[in-house]
C-alpha cells in the first residue's frame, strides 16, 4: 500500500490539476460567449451572399459560359479538401470529430481511384493527418497569431484555393468544419464549395426577375471568389465557437473527474492513517501486557 506521504502528494497534485481545468473552463466559457456572438452576427452576411448567388445562378441565361467556379470543370478527378481545425488542444473530441469525418471522405475518394489533395488550416489537424496522409497535404496554414477568427485570414485561405483552382489543380473542393449547435453538440460538416452546390432551393426566390448591372456573368465572376472567402470565414467562425464550447464541456468533465478522484484518495488516506494509528496502539498495548 502507498505510504501516507505518497497519498498526500497525489491528493495535492490532483487538486492543482483540478484548479487548472477549472480555470480553463472559465476562460473557455468567457471566450465561448464572444465566439458565439460573432458566429451569430456573421451569419446574415454569408446567408445573404448565398441567396444572391443562388438567385443569380437561377437567372443565368447562358449555362455553357457560366463561370467555372460555379459549374466546376466538368470533371471529377482531383478532390481538394480543406480541413479546418483548431490551433490548441485540450478541447475534447473537437478536432478528432472533424478528422474522423474527413478521413471517411478521404477513404471514399481514394477508393474511387481519384486524386486527393489536402489543405489543413490549424495546426492540430495537420498533426493528426500528417502520419497517414503526409504526401497528400499540399499546404498547411495556421493562424496562431490571430486571437479571433477574422475575415482577412479567411480571405487568405480563399485566395490560395482560387489560385490553385485557376491553375486547374483540382476539380472539386470541400471544406470540413464543426458547426456550432450548442455547447455540448457540435456537428462535423462537409461542405462542397466548388462547384457550388445549391443545398437549399427556395421556391420563392426563383420567381423574381432581377435587373443586373453589369451583366450576370460579370457579377458572378466577381462574386464567386468572394463567396468562397465568405464561406470559409463562416466555417472559421462556427469552428471557433465550437472549439470553445467543446473545450468548456471537456474541462467541466475533467474538473468533475478530478473532484471524484480527490474524494476517493482522501478516503484512502484517512483509512490508512487510521490503520497506522491502530497498529501503533496494538503495539503499545501488547508491549505493556508482556511486562
Amino acid at each position: 500500500m502507498a505510504s501516507l506521504d505518497d497519498l498526500k502528494k497525489r491528493i495535492v497534485s490532483v487538486k492543482s490539476t483540478q484548479k487548472i481545468t477549472k480555470a480553463m473552463k472559465m476562460v473557455a466559457a468567457a471566450k465561448l460567449k464572444r465566439a458565439q456572438e460573432s458566429a451569430e452576427k456573421g451569419r446574415p452576411y454569408s446567408e445573404k451572399m448565398n441567396n444572391i448567388i443562388l438567385n443569380l445562378a437561377d437567372g443565368i441565361s447562358d449555362k455553357e459560359n457560366a463561370p467555372k467556379l460555379l459549374t466546376g470543370t466538368g470533371q471529377d478527378k482531383v478532390h481538394l479538401c480543406v480541413v479546418l481545425t483548431s490551433d490548441r488542444g485540450l478541447c475534447g473530441g473537437f478536432n478528432s470529430n472533424i478528422i474522423k469525418k474527413a478521413k471517411v471522405y478521404f477513404g471514399k475518394v481514394l477508393d474511387e481511384g481519384k486524386t486527393l489533395k489536402i489543405i489543413t488550416v490549424g495546426s492540430k489537424g495537420y498533426d493528426q493527418l500528417k502520419r497517414l496522409y503526409n504526401d497528400k497535404i499540399i499546404e498547411k496554414i495556421s493562424f496562431k497569431e490571430s486571437k479571433n477568427a477574422n475575415y482577412f485570414d479567411a480571405e487568405k485561405v480563399g485566395k490560395i484555393i482560387i489560385e490553385s483552382f485557376l491553375k486547374k489543380e483540382f476539380d472539386v473542393c470541400t471544406i470540413f468544419y464543426n458547426k456550432f449547435k450548442n455547447v455540448i453538440t457540435q456537428i462535423p460538416q462537409a461542405q462542397q464549395i466548388i462547384p457550388l452546390k445549391s443545398s437549399e432551393s427556395e421556391g420563392s426566390s426563383s420567381e423574381d426577375n432581377y435587373e443586373f448591372e453589369p451583366e450576370e456573368d460579370e457579377i458572378l465572376s466577381n462574386l464567386l471568389p468572394k463567396n468562397i472567402s465568405t464561406q470559409i470565414f463562416k466555417a472559421m467562425l462556427e469552428n471557433s465557437a465550437s472549439e470553445q464550447g467543446s473545450r468548456m464541456s471537456a474541462m467541466d468533465n475533467a474538473t468533475r473527474n478530478a473532484g471524484e478522484m480527490v474524494e476517493k484518495l482522501t478516503i484512502k488516506y484517512n483509512r490508512s492513517r487510521q490503520a497506522a494509528i491502530t497498529k501503533e496502539l496494538i503495539e503499545i498495548i501488547s508491549g505493556a501486557e508482556s511486562l
Binding site: Y45, S46, K48, P214, F233
Partner: protein, 132 residues
C-alpha cells in the same frame, strides 16, 4: 402612403447598420452613382469605391465603402461589403495611408485597366474625404 423602405448594411463580422425608414439611398454602383427610392425594381449590382448616402426624414448619413454588392428586393435594400466606414468617424491617418497604398499599387504596370480605374477612383474619393 409612406415613402420609406428598409436598408441593411452587413459586413462579414456583423450587421453594420439596419434602418427601417429611409427615403433614399445613393450608392456608388459599378456603372455610376445610383439613387434608390421606394419600389425600385429588383436589382443586383456591384459597388466601386465611393460614398454611400442614406437619407431618412431629417437626417443624412454618409459612409465610405471600398467594395461590395447591393441587392434590392421587395423594398429592402441589402448592402454586403467587407470594408465600410462612417464618414464622421473615419480616421484621417487611415485615409492618408490608403491613398499612399493605392498610389503605390497604381505604379505596378501589370494590373488590368479595369483595376487601374477602380484604384484611381478610390484615390479620388479618398482625397475628397481628406480635404473636407
Amino acid at each position: 402612403m409612406s415613402e420609406e423602405f428598409k436598408v441593411e448594411i452587413v459586413n462579414p463580422e456583423k450587421s453594420f447598420l439596419s434602418n427601417e425608414n429611409v427615403t433614399e439611398v445613393v450608392v456608388p454602383a459599378f456603372e455610376g452613382e445610383m439613387g434608390i427610392l421606394k419600389d425600385h425594381i429588383s436589382i443586383i449590382s456591384f459597388l466601386k469605391p465611393g460614398i454611400i448616402k442614406i437619407f431618412s426624414k431629417n437626417t443624412e448619413e454618409k459612409f465610405y465603402v471600398e467594395d461590395g454588392i447591393v441587392e434590392f428586393k421587395d423594398n429592402s435594400l441589402s448592402i454586403l461589403t467587407s470594408s465600410i466606414f462612417s464618414l464622421d468617424k473615419i480616421d484621417r491617418d487611415y485615409v492618408n495611408q490608403s491613398i499612399q497604398d493605392a498610389e503605390k499599387e497604381l505604379l505596378n504596370e501589370n494590373i488590368e485597366d479595369q483595376k487601374r480605374f477602380l484604384i484611381s477612383q478610390k484615390i479620388d474619393v479618398l482625397k475628397s474625404i481628406g480635404s473636407n
